[in-house]
C-alpha cells in the first residue's frame, strides 16, 4: 500500500542576513538596481552568499503509512515547524519532494482564521472554511462543534468579548471536527485548562484510531508517548533518529545531558527573557562538593546556577523545576517559599539549591531554571536547562532494588513487625 506521506530529500534553506526582510526598502532596491545591477539582481532572486544561508531542514526522508500517528520531537529550531509548514504548503521546500495522499488539514495554531469582530457563530463558519471545510459540512457539524466548545450561550457575541479559555475552546472545537485523511498538528494541545487538554487529547486519540494519518509535533513527551506509534527526532534540520516513541524521547532528553555535570547557558536561545539578567551556567554537585553528572537515588544534590544581570535585581526569586523522562513535572523548588529575604543582586552571582535527599527513581531528569523579580515577573527562564541522571542506589544497604520501573518517586520507608 502506498504511504500516506512520502518525503524524500526535503530541504528548506532560508536567507539570513544582517538586514531582516522588514527593513527591505524599495528606494534602496531601486537605487541598488541602478548602481549595482548584477549584485542586486542576485539578491532579489535570492542567490545570496553561502554564509548568509541557513538550512532549516536538510535531506529529510520520511514515510508515514496510512493510519499511523507519528511524533516529531526536537529542540526549538530543529526544523519541526518548518517540516509542518512545508507539508502544509505554507512554504515551499528548497530541495526534495513530498507526496501526501488524501485530504490534508493543518493545525498549526489555535484560532487561525478567527476574526475578533465576528460572533462565535460567524467565526465557526469562517474558520471552518479557511481550514478547508465546505459550507454544507460546517452546517452539518455546527451543533457538534458548539457542544464540544461548550459556548452555546455566547454564540452570538463577538469573540473579542470571549475569555481566552472560551476562545481556545471554540477554536479547537472547529479544528477538532475537521475530517481530513492526513492531519498535521503543531503543539496546539498546549493550551487551555486541564479539563480541556484532556478533551483535546481524547479527540486526538479518536482521530488517530479512526484510520487517519497524523503527524504530531510536540514538546509534551507524555502525549508523544501515549498517542504516537512512531517518533522521529530532528536536530538542526536533520533527522537523527526514528523509532519507538519511548526510545526517541529518551534520546532526545539525554541530549540535554552534559557528561561533566556543568552546562553553559549564556548563549542558549531557547529561553524566555534573558535581557536584564540571564543564567550563564549551571553545575551539579554531589554530597562531597564535587561536580557530577549523576547522583544516586536518595542522594545529596546541589544545583548551582550562575547568573549575571545588567541592572540591579531587587529580591530575585529563583526556581528549579524537575521534570522526568516522560515530561511530567515532578516538583518546583522555589527560593521565594524557602527564603525570607533574598538579597538584591547587583551584577550577578551564584545561587545554590541543595536537595539533601533527592528521592526520585533512577532515570534522566531535566531541570528548568527560572528567575523572577520581586513582583513575580519572569526575568529569565530556560525550560530544559540541563539533565541529570539519577542512578540506582542501594538505599537500604541490602543489595536489593528499592523501587519498581514506573514509580514516580522513591519514598524511604521503615518497616516493623510483630508476629504471633
Amino acid at each position: 500500500m502506498l504511504p500516506a506521506i512520502h518525503v524524500e530529500g526535503l530541504g528548506k534553506r532560508y536567507k539570513i542576513g544582517v538586514r531582516a526582510p522588514d527593513d527591505h526598502n524599495f528606494r534602496e532596491a531601486i537605487v541598488g538596481l541602478l548602481t549595482a545591477p548584477i549584485r542586486r539582481f542576485r539578491t532579489l532572486s535570492e542567490h545570496a552568499r553561502e554564509d548568509e544561508m541557513i538550512w532549516a531542514l536538510k535531506d529529510l526522508d520520511l514515510e508515514v503509512q496510512r493510519g499511523e500517528v507519528i511524533g516529531v520531537v526536537g529542540r526549538n529550531g530543529a526544523g519541526k515547524s518548518t517540516l509542518l509548514k512545508i507539508l502544509s504548503r505554507i512554504t515551499e521546500p528548497t530541495t526534495g519532494r513530498a507526496e501526501l495522499r488524501g485530504r490534508v488539514a493543518s493545525l498549526l495554531e489555535v484560532g487561525t482564521g478567527f476574526h475578533a469582530e465576528l460572533t462565535g457563530r460567524e467565526n465557526v463558519f469562517l474558520a471552518g472554511a479557511i481550514h478547508g471545510m465546505r459550507r454544507a459540512e460546517i452546517i452539518r457539524k455546527f451543533d457538534q462543534i458548539v457542544a464540544f466548545a461548550d459556548i452555546e450561550r455566547f454564540l452570538d457575541t463577538p469573540v473579542k468579548r470571549y475569555s481566552s479559555g472560551m476562545y481556545v475552546r471554540l477554536a479547537f472545537a472547529v479544528a477538532a471536527h475537521l475530517e481530513p485523511e492526513i492531519l498535521l498538528v503543531d503543539e496546539v494541545l498546549a493550551v487551555g485548562d486541564i479539563e480541556f487538554q484532556r478533551k483535546c487529547l481524547g479527540r486526538m486519540r479518536e482521530v488517530a484510531t479512526g484510520g487517519r494519518t497524523v503527524l504530531f509535533v510536540s514538546h509534551n513527551m507524555v502525549s508523544i508517548e501515549s498517542l504516537c506509534s512512531r517518533a522521529v527526532l530532528l536536530e538542526q534540520g536533520r533527522k537523527i533518529m526514528e523509532g519507538q516513541p519511548r526510545h526517541v524521547v529518551e534520546t532526545y532528553l539525554a541530549s540535554f545531558r552534559s557528561s561533566t555535570g556543568s552546562v553553559a547557558l549564556g548563549e542558549r536561545t531557547d529561553r524566555v527573557g534573558g535581557v536584564h539578567a540571564r543564567f550563564t551556567d549551571v553545575h551539579f554537585y554531589d554530597a562531597g562538593g564535587r561536580i557530577t553528572a549523576s547522583v544516586p537515588m536518595g542522594g545529596d544534590l546541589t544545583v548551582e546556577a550562575e547568573f549575571v544581570c545588567n541592572q540591579p535585581l531587587s529580591r530575585p526569586r529563583f526556581l528549579v523545576l524537575f521534570t522526568n523522562g516522560m515530561g511530567q513535572t515532578i516538583f518546583h523548588a522555589k527560593s521565594h517559599a524557602a527564603v525570607d529575604v533574598m538579597p538584591d543582586a547587583d551584577k550577578g552571582g551564584k545561587v545554590q539549591c541543595r536537595f539533601p535527599a533527592l528521592n526520585l527513581p533512577p532515570g534522566m531528569y531535566s531541570i528548568a531554571l527560572r528567575l523572577n523579580d520581586s513582583v513575580a515577573q519572569r526575568v529569565d527562564g530556560i525550560e530544559m536547562a540541563a539533565s541529570i541522571e539519577i542512578t540506582e542506589a542501594d538505599v537500604y544497604g541490602t543489595g536489593r532494588g528499592a523501587q519498581e520501573p514506573d514509580d514516580v518517586m522513591f519514598m524511604p520507608a521503615e518497616w516493623a513487625w510483630d508476629y504471633r
Binding site: 526582510p21 503509512q65 502544509s88 512554504t91 495522499r101 479512526g210 523509532g243
Partner: protein
C-alpha cells in the same frame, strides 16, 4: 489483516515492524484517499491551479462575506457608509467646480461627479484595500494553506457590494435631475468588468510588492491620489482631449480608468465619449490584470517566508 512494514533505509534509525492492526484498532472508516498532493520546489512562471481555485470557491465567498460584515459591524450608519464616500467627494467637487471653469460635458454637476466617482471608487478601494490585504493578514498566510489569490481579491469583491448600493443612489439622482442614460448603457457590464480587472490586477501587483517591500504600504495611498488626478473624475476627458490631443494623442487612454470613467458617464448620463480611447483602456485593463496576476503568481511562493 496484518501487515508488517519496514521503514525506509536511513543511516540513523531503528528497524522495527509496525503492526497496522494495532494502530487502527477501530474500524478503518476512511476509504482509500483520492487526492494526491505533490510538494516540490517550483521555478519560474507557474500557471494558476484552476481546479484548486474551484475547489476552494466557497472560501472566497466567506472571505468576501467576512470583509463586508466586519466593515459595518458596530457602526451606526452601517451600509450607508458605502454611499457617504462618493457623496462627500461629490459635494466637494461640486463646490470646487463653482470656482473653476471645468466642463461637465453638459450634465448637471452633482450627477457628473457622482457618476464618475462610482467606478473610480470601486477601482481605488480595490487597489488600496487589496494592496494591503496580504500584509494585514500575515497570520493567515503563515498558519494555514488556501489559494493566496483570494486574499487580495476578496476586498475587490466586497467593494462590488458598495458599488451596487452606489448605483442605486445614482439612479435616484438621475431621476431627480432628469438625466437619462444613453444607448451606451448596454456596455455597463463590460465597464464594470474592466474596472474589476484593472483593480484586481493592481491589487495583486501592489499586494505582492507590499509583502516584500514594506514601504509600498505608504506608497499606496499616494499612488491612489495621483491616479485620481490622471483619471477624468474631476474633469471631463472630452474637454481635456480637445485641448491636449495634439500634444499626447491617445496616451492618457493607457490608464484603464480613463476610458472606463468616461464610458460609464456616457452610459448612464449620456455624455460623449471616444470609442477608440475606450478600446485602448480596455486593452490596458486586460494587460494590467495579466501582469498583476503573473507577478503575484511568481512571488506567491515566498510570501510565508518574507511576510
Amino acid at each position: 489483516m496484518s501487515e508488517t512494514v519496514t521503514k525506509p533505509s536511513s543511516a540513523s534509525h531503528e528497524r522495527e515492524p509496525v503492526d497496522l492492526d494495532r494502530q487502527t484498532s477501530g474500524q478503518l472508516d476512511v476509504p482509500p484517499p483520492a487526492t494526491v498532493t505533490v510538494i516540490q520546489p517550483r521555478r519560474g512562471w507557474i500557471p494558476f491551479d484552476w481546479k484548486e481555485l474551484w475547489e476552494f470557491r466557497e472560501l472566497l465567498y466567506f472571505l468576501v462575506w467576512r470583509d463586508v460584515k466586519v466593515r459595518y459591524k458596530q457602526t451606526v450608519l452601517g451600509a450607508a457608509w458605502a454611499v457617504l464616500q462618493p457623496l462627500a467627494f461629490m459635494l466637494i467637487f461640486t463646490m470646487i467646480a463653482g470656482l473653476t471653469n471645468l466642463s461637465t460635458d453638459g450634465a448637471p454637476k452633482p450627477v457628473f461627479y457622482f457618476a464618475g466617482l462610482v467606478p473610480w471608487l470601486l477601482f481605488a478601494n480595490a487597489i488600496s484595500l487589496g494592496g494591503q490585504s496580504l500584509v494585514n493578514q500575515q497570520h493567515l498566510l503563515t498558519k494555514v494553506y488556501f489559494p493566496r489569490l483570494f486574499v487580495p481579491v476578496a476586498p475587490v469583491g466586497a467593494g462590488l457590494l458598495d458599488f451596487l448600493l452606489q448605483i442605486i443612489v445614482l439612479e435616484m439622482m438621475m431621476v431627480a435631475y432628469g438625466v437619462a442614460p444613453s444607448a451606451v448603457v448596454l456596455l455597463t457590464p463590460l465597464l464594470v468588468l474592466l474596472t474589476l480587472m484593472a483593480g484586481t490586477g493592481m491589487a495583486l501587483l501592489l499586494g505582492s510588492l507590499t509583502v516584500t517591500y514594506r514601504d509600498f504600504r505608504y506608497m499606496i495611498p499616494f499612488l491612489v491620489q495621483l491616479w485620481l488626478f490622471v483619471s477624468p473624475v474631476i474633469y471631463s476627458a472630452n474637454e481635456c482631449q480637445e485641448k491636449f490631443r495634439e500634444t499626447w494623442g491617445v496616451l492618457p487612454a493607457i490608464n484603464p480608468m480613463w476610458g472606463v470613467v468616461t464610458g460609464f458617464r456616457a452610459a448612464l448620463i449620456g455624455t460623449p465619449f471616444d470609442p477608440t480611447e475606450l478600446a485602448i483602456s480596455a486593452a490596458s485593463a486586460v494587460l494590467v490584470l495579466l501582469f498583476g496576476a503573473a507577478y503575484f503568481r511568481r512571488t506567491e511562493r515566498r510570501f510565508a517566508d518574507v511576510v
